[in-house]
Amino acid sequence: MAAICSLYIINKSGGLIYYKDYGSGGRMDTNDSLRVASLWHSMHAISQQLSPTTGCYGIELLEADTFDLHCFQSLTGTKFFVVCEPGTQQMESLLKVIYELYTDYVLKNPFYEMEMPIRCELFDINLSQVVQKDRVVLLGR
């Protein structure tokens, strides 16, 4: 079982803008990945509504029987979440690194239109250096 199963990036209105499958349990077809993204977006919002105290920013970690889901939401509303083996470490720092790759190779690309699906070659190349096959290579960035 690969350490990392898949990575999703969602824009602030819940649209899936990036999905990468690391070849563990069968790739999700595009419709399903879109549905997963928008469902997660609403779950994330609902979880804030149910908070017993103020200042809740939504689900950060979901623990299921066969996987963990770590989610980072930027203050601008973009969500990055990764599905991995239960108990995998360093996912928070991985998501932070991916967030920085996003600010470099997506937001600084003049040919990227905000909130649209990400098709930036440099983002893929740099991401593949951080997540080789399914192992996380957290080199000091």
């Binding site: 609902i46 601008t76 996003y102 937001l107």
Partner: protein, 186 residues
């Protein structure tokens, strides 16, 4: 362990890749010249520069948040303060001070100690009325909007128009809370 507090502007500026300010200044000069050729009307150029700044601000804010470890942007006073102090240093390597807050903390002035946009620049008289550095006001407006703060940013003082310093005013118009996006029959 408690999340590390916001990093100082100097610390970030020292850790990021930097370029000679002249490349930045001359590229900005070329941008303004292009606008003056395309648009002719100085007022149009001011608007276009502000719009271009806005387009930059809505992208640049994420880098600011990622690198500055700012964890929450709730209070306008705190946010404007950290963006001015950390943001200008982190991106332009210059110090900015935030002064005369109004009573309810919704309006402040930002004074720039230096301005790399405007080195070697001298406005010919054909450009009266041009706010040469208007891209900066757009950047602040765009960045703040991305953290749910609608603002109005205007120039109070501009060296290129004869003042002794660069000073912006940032006024909070509305804080747009993220409304709960789902009707209750979810």
């Amino acid at each position: 362990m408690a999340p590390p507090g916001p990093r100082s502007g100097d610390a970030i500026f020292a850790s990021v890749e930097r370029v000679n300010a002249e490349l930045f200044t001359l590229t900005y000069g070329a941008t303004v010249r292009q606008l003056l050729t395309d648009l002719e009307e100085v007022e149009e150029v001011n608007k276009q520069l502000d719009q271009m700044g806005y387009n930059i601000g809505i992208r640049l804010i994420d880098e600011f948040l990622a690198k500055s470890n700012v964890s929450r942007c709730i209070d306008f006073k705190e946010t404007a303060d950290v963006i001015a102090k950390v943001g200008f240093k982190m991106f332009l390597g210059i110090n900015a001070t935030v002064t005369n807050w109004d009573a309810d903390g919704t309006c402040c002035n930002i004074i720039l100690e230096d301005n790399p946009l405007a080195d070697f620049v001298e406005l010919p008289d054909t450009c009266q009325g041009l706010y040469y550095c208007n891209i900066l006001s757009g950047v602040i407006r765009g960045a703040l909007e991305m953290v749910s703060m609608k603002t109005e940013v205007t120039w109070l003082r501009d060296v290129l128009r004869g003042d002794d310093a660069y000073e912006l005013q940032v006024k909070l118009l509305k804080q747009v809370p993220e409304e709960y996006p789902y009707k209750d029959d979810e």
